[in-house]
Each structure stands twice: as structure tokens, then as C-alpha cells.
């Protein structure tokens, strides 16, 4: 527990956490101090002057809140006339050369300038001199588009690239009202975290080339999810929307704060994984090449599992704990073997020391916790013996070539549950007995364990027009005792006692639960 201190805001006593600056400390208790340049991840810079507050203890009349530590008994003034005038005047200054093109600006709806104008300024422009015009739609590289006129010169992007990625592509050049953000000619943004500057930018100066003009911010529905791009498990917000007569589509992924995992950021590759969720998805369930209702496929497969001498299930290392447990329960009931063979998910030397990991599977730690085998030899041996093979969403084409898959399952009956075509290789897919189109991670809820052993919940908000089963439903259809996510979650809790204290998976704390390696089967 952090120590609590008492201080006074506008004469009223509030209790805040100690060791924080005034902006952060008061934000936690719902008191806003406006600011542009300060960001918790980048530290105080003090250049925007928007957070000036009065402190009644003989200090200078006003001090920047971002650089002032909250102290016991401090008397903070936020509503004094001089503070209000400063906020009003700083806003007026920011607007002198601002184009006020909100109707065509992507940031509209989530823009600090808009919010603060309504709250702290609200007056008409008094300017009659021509505005300083600057460059529009400048390509900063890395998918970042810059509009110099909208910039408030807070320097968040500059500081991010210098402090966090240490690549320093951007700088604030010129001075006075000609000040602008630029990259040195020939050295544009070129790093794997560049798009974070778009989130950091408090105004519409930096926008994402990928998201620009696709959707207004206020139409987007948000779902708190976990990135499935690698084993880091960055906390993300899935911004999606279903337009009339259209399918529910994800427009962008944004990082969500979690100090334990990703801080405030995520990598550019992870951000682009939303495209896989939208495009080229399997839609139909087939039996012997013909489209058939799911119930028929389940009934057929169930009969085959019963008659088979050896059954092999392959699960994905990105599947949620619930899904893994449901498949495991089905395997226990039918005497099948479960493998999570997925060597191809590991991309050697791709990771770095920040957020990107070599392992591109979201829940490999969960696979280990549940004690599912994943070695190549185990999988090869089992595949040779098996006469029924069921794939639960594993992208086997990452680990094995088409010929290798074909050879392994040349005389095996195969049921392929997959999200995208080609996960067993194009040749094999023509030979499968039946196939089921599955939901992907943005469409179901669950819990995954990241590379540091932190179990995190995620919510799937996307509702596709085409109804697809998720892996828990697929396992249940094939006869798994875990008939739903709740039942599967109970199985997970039995295997991982550290999770037992949480009723449903939604009760997991937002920052995740740290599990230790020997947690399983305690």
C-alpha cells in the first residue's frame, strides 16, 4: 500500500497517494489539472504552462503542477482568478495559429485542445493578424502523418523518441511561432514503436496513416483486450464499430496502461494485427467438402472420435486458458492426446528488451501451467499413430511445411478448426474431413498468461455477422464436459490454484495476477 497524505484543494481536504506530482495525485481522486506536455511515462517537462497552480505557502505565485510533488498539508489553489486567467490565456496562445479544422481532423473527439477549449477558454478568437502557415500532411515515416499547424509544441513525441526508443528522429526546430516538429532530412521515424507518438500527441498534429479518415473517434466501441501478437501480452483497447449493413470491423488497436506489463505503449506490429482479425477470415463449416450445419459436423466428428484407436488434438499456444482447459477435459474424456506443438510461433532474434518478444504466442506460459506437451517429437510420434486429428486453431503452417503436414496426416481423418485459411497448408486443407470456422481473439473473452507469468483477462467486443463457435464451444460440441466458458474457467481454477480466489474471470484485477512457475497442480 502506498502511503496516503492529506492536502487541501481549493480549501477542501483530499487524501492522495504520496510520492506523486500534483497532476497524477489529484487525477486519482478525480480532480483534473489541465496539461499538454506532461505525460506519466515521459516525465515533467514544464513547457506548456497549462498546469500552473497556486500554492499558498510563500512560493512564487504560481508553480507548474507537473513539477510539484504533492506534500502533506499543501494548500493547492485551482479556482483562483489568476489561475483561471492563466489557463484561459495559455489556451488563447495555443489557438493563435491553430487551424481549428476539427471537422476534418482525426483527433476530434479525443483532442485535449477541444476538451480544454470547452472547459477553460470558450471565447472567440481576437486575432486579426494572418496566421503563421506551416506544412500539412507531412510524412514522418513509420506510418505517422504530421500536420504542423495543429501542433502545440508540447514535445511529447520528441521526448518519447529520445527517452524511450532512444532513436531521436524528431526535434523541435525554429523558435517562437515558427516552432515546429521536424525530422532531420533523410532520417525519418524508423523504429518499431513509432506509432506510439500518435497516441501521445494530445492534439491532431500526429495521426496514423493507417487510421486516418477511417472512422470518427466517437463512433468507435471499445473493448479492453490483450494483444495476441506476441507473448508480452500488452494491454490494448480494441476500437471497433459495426456500421449499418456492414460487418463489425476493428479500426485500430491502442495501448492501454498497465505498469506491470507494457507501461503505456505497444509495438507497431502488434498494432497492425487487427488486420488479421478483419480480413480473410474463414466463414463456413464444411463436412466432406460441402457446407453443413455445425451440429452435423459435431455429430460426425464425435462418432469418429469414438471409433478411432488414437486421437490427437492440437491446440494453439495463443488460445485462452479456458479453451485449453476445455480441450484438455475433452481429451481426458475420450482418451485423446493433446499437443500444443508450435515451434514456428517462435521467431528467433526478433525480440528486443522493451516489448517485442521472440515468442509470437499469447499464452505459452498458460500451456505450460496446464501441463500440455508441446515438443516436436511428442507431436510427430502422436501424429504418426493417430487416425483422427483435430486442430483447435493452431496455425500449423507456421511450424511445418505443406509437405511435412501432408506426410504426417496422409491417412488420418482431419477436423480443422481454424480462423484463417491455410493454417494446415493449402494442400492439406483440400483433404480435411471437415472444417470449422472459429472465432478469433477479438471475439471471445478469456484469460491468457504472458511471458512473465502474469495472468490477464481480456474481453472480446467484436460481434461478427457470421456466427462462429469459439474453441470452448467447439470442444463442448465434440463432447467436452466443459460445456461453457464458466465451466471451463472452473477447470482452470482447479489446475491453477492461484486463480481459485476469483469467482469469474472478470474478477481478475485489471493489472493481472502474477503466477509463479510451480503454480500448476499444487
Amino acid at each position: 500500500m502506498t502511503e496516503m497524505i492529506k492536502l487541501f484543494v481549493n480549501g477542501e481536504e483530499v487524501e492522495v497517494e504520496s510520492g506523486k506530482n500534483l497532476i497524477d495525485a489529484l487525477e486519482k481522486v478525480g480532480i483534473e489539472i489541465p496539461h499538454f506536455c506532461y505525460h506519466p511515462a515521459l516525465g515533467a517537462d514544464g513547457n506548456c504552462r497549462m498546469c500552473l497552480v497556486g500554492i499558498e505557502d510563500g512560493r512564487p505565485p504560481v508553480v507548474p503542477a507537473c513539477k510539484t510533488l504533492a506534500k502533506e498539508g499543501m494548500k493547492v489553489l485551482l479556482d483562483a482568478d489568476n489561475i483561471k486567467k492563466i489557463q484561459h490565456d495559455v489556451m488563447e496562445l495555443e489557438f493563435i495559429n491553430h487551424p481549428t479544422d476539427c471537422p476534418i481532423c482525426d483527433q476530434a473527439g479525443e483532442c485535449k485542445l477541444q476538451d480544454y477549449y470547452m472547459k477553460y477558454e470558450g471565447t472567440e478568437s481576437r486575432m486579426w493578424v494572418p496566421q503563421v502557415t506551416k506544412r500539412k500532411m507531412q510524412d514522418f515515416g513509420g506510418g505517422v502523418i504530421h500536420d504542423q499547424e495543429r501542433c502545440v509544441a508540447c514535445g511529447r513525441c520528441v521526448r518519447f523518441l529520445r527517452q524511450i526508443t532512444r532513436t531521436g528522429e524528431l526535434g523541435l526546430v525554429n523558435r517562437g511561432d515558427d516552432c515546429r516538429v521536424e525530422f532531420f532530412p533523410g532520417r525519418p521515424i524508423n523504429n518499431r514503436y513509432g506509432l506510439n507518438v500518435v497516441d501521445l500527441c494530445p492534439v491532431g498534429a500526429l495521426t496514423s496513416a493507417d487510421f486516418r479518415f477511417k472512422q470518427r473517434a466517437w463512433f468507435l466501441k471499445r473493448a479492453e483486450s490483450i494483444c495476441h501478437g506476441c507473448s508480452k501480452g500488452c494491454n490494448i483497447m480494441v476500437d471497433h464499430n459495426k456500421e449499418k449493413y456492414e460487418d463489425d470491423i476493428i479500426y485500430r488497436l491502442r495501448p492501454r496502461q498497465n505498469e506491470q506489463v507494457n507501461g503505456w505503449f505497444m509495438c507497431d506490429e502488434g498494432r497492425m494485427t487487427y488486420k488479421l482479425e478483419n480480413d480473410n477470415r474463414l466463414e463456413e463449416c464444411t463436412l466432406a467438402g460441402a457446407v453443413r450445419p455445425l451440429a452435423d459436423i459435431f455429430a460426425d466428428a464425435e462418432r469418429r472420435i469414438e471409433r478411432a484407436t488414437k486421437v490427437l488434438f492440437l491446440v494453439s499456444p495463443s488460445a485462452s486458458l479456458e479453451q485449453l482447459a476445455a480441450v484438455q477435459a475433452l481429451a481426458e474424456k475420450t482418451g485423446a492426446t493433446v499437443s500444443a506443438f508450435s515451434d514456428g510461433y517462435i521467431v528467433k532474434d526478433d525480440g528486443d528488451d522493451f516489448l517485442i518478444k521472440d515468442d509470437k504466442a499469447a499464452n505459452r506460459a498458460g500451456v505450460d501451467l496446464l501441463g500440455i506437451a508441446k515438443s516436436r517429437t511428442h507431436f510427430d510420434n502422436m501424429a504418426k499413430e493417430a487416425d483422427v486429428f483435430i486442430n483447435f486453431g493452431n496455425d500449423l503452417s507456421r511450424s511445418l511445411s505443406e509437405e511435412q503436414i501432408g506426410r504426417l496426416f496422409s491417412d488420418t481423418w482431419v477436423l480443422n478448426g481454424a480462423t484463417h485459411p491455410g493454417q494446415l497448408g493449402a494442400v492439406m486443407e483440400k483433404k480435411v474431413g471437415s472444417s470449422i470456422a472459429l472465432r478469433s481473439w477479438s471475439e471471445y473473452h478469456g484469460v491468457v498468461v504472458n511471458c512473465d507469468g502474469i495472468a490477464q483477462k481480456f474481453v472480446g467486443g467484436v460481434m461478427k455477422n457470421v456466427e462462429r463457435p469459439d474453441i470452448v464451444e467447439m470442444a463442448a460440441g465434440l463432447g467436452s464436459p466443459a460445456t461453457g466458458t464458466a465451466a471451463a474457467w472452473a477447470l482452470v481454477q482447479k489446475k491453477i490454484p492461484a486463480l481459485a480466489e476469483f469467482g469469474g474471470f472478470l474478477e481478475l484485477p485489471a493489472e493481472g495476477v502474477k503466477l509463479t512457475d510451480n503454480e500448476a497442480g499444487k
Binding site: R162, G171, V173, N174, D178, R180, E182, F184
Partner: protein
């Protein structure tokens, strides 16, 4: 201030000559951190070439081991660094308060009318170039000109006329 962010590329790689190279290495020892070398290095470039080109900024950044954007920031912030080729005589007219009140505009207009020379430009024969700069710190004897580093105080159009004649 005008927009100084558009750098001019010569298309040729920049390098310190021998004299500046040794001077650079001596100056490095003077400072606790290499980053402090940004300003001295820019001065060295200007001494050598009389102006600072895009390649020189990249060269300095790599030589110091800092981000090119940082050197770019400094070079565009200070109007003392010429970011375009200058004439044989580079004339800086102070445009800050005292000089403005004491008639710097007459002098600027004189250059415009007589020599077809506007701030930020050079004459066709590359003899003169003109720049309006911020306070030169000689407010007591405003208006002042600075020509190739030399100060000329209490100037007016007549004095400028006579002064330019000596340069011809």
C-alpha cells in the same frame, strides 16, 4: 523569426578540414559531455564554409554521437548560424526593439532599394548578403549592423552608404 527549417543540401559529403578537425578534438576535452560540442562544432562549420549545410549537421551529429535532430534544433534556433550560402560580406541588421525604434527599417529599405537585397538573400554577384537578427546586445548605440563579425554602431542610411563604399 522566419522558417529556417528547410536545410540546403550541397549533395557533397561534409568533412572538417585538418585545422578544424584538430580544433574539434581539443574542444571535446574541454567539456564533461560530448553533447556540449553541438554549438562549438556548428561554429567550426561556419568558420570553415561560412554557412551550415544539411550534410554538415548530419556530420556533426554523427561525430558527436548525438541525434541529428538535436543539432538540427540548435542550428535552426540560433539565427547566428547561416543555413544558406552567404555573400562575401554578410550583413546582419539587428531587428530588436531599440534598433527597430531607432530606424533599422530605413537601413533594410536602403538595401532593398539600392542593392535589391532582402533579408535572407544575397546579391547576384554574391558580394553582399543580408539577414535580420535578434538583439546583438548593443542597444545603447542602436541601430547596429554586424558585418562578418565586426560591429558598426549608430548607423543610418548615409553611414551605411559610406561603409559599403569601403567594401567595394
Amino acid at each position: 523569426m522566419s522558417d529556417r527549417s528547410k536545410l540546403i543540401a550541397t549533395g557533397k559529403p561534409f568533412k572538417f578540414d585538418k585545422k578544424r578537425d584538430t580544433e574539434f578534438e581539443q574542444l571535446v576535452k574541454r567539456y564533461p559531455s560530448r553533447e556540449s560540442m553541438v554549438l562549438p562544432a556548428l561554429w567550426l562549420v561556419q568558420e570553415q564554409e561560412s554557412w551550415v549545410c544539411q550534410e554538415a549537421i548530419g556530420y556533426i551529429a554523427d561525430r558527436i554521437g548525438t541525434f541529428a535532430s538535436k543539432v538540427y534544433e540548435v542550428a535552426t534556433f540560433y539565427s547566428m548560424f547561416n543555413l544558406h550560402p552567404v555573400g562575401k560580406y554578410h550583413i546582419c541588421v539587428c531587428r530588436t526593439l531599440s534598433c527597430w525604434l531607432r530606424g533599422k527599417q530605413d537601413i533594410v529599405n536602403y538595401f532593398r532599394d539600392e542593392l535589391n537585397l532582402t533579408p535572407g538573400k544575397a546579391t547576384e554577384d554574391k558580394k553582399f548578403s543580408l539577414e535580420e537578427v535578434e538583439c546583438l546586445g548593443h542597444c545603447g548605440s542602436a541601430p547596429v549592423l554586424q558585418i562578418n563579425g565586426e560591429f558598426y554602431e549608430n548607423m543610418d542610411v548615409d553611414k551605411v552608404k559610406k561603409l559599403l563604399a569601403t567594401f567595394k
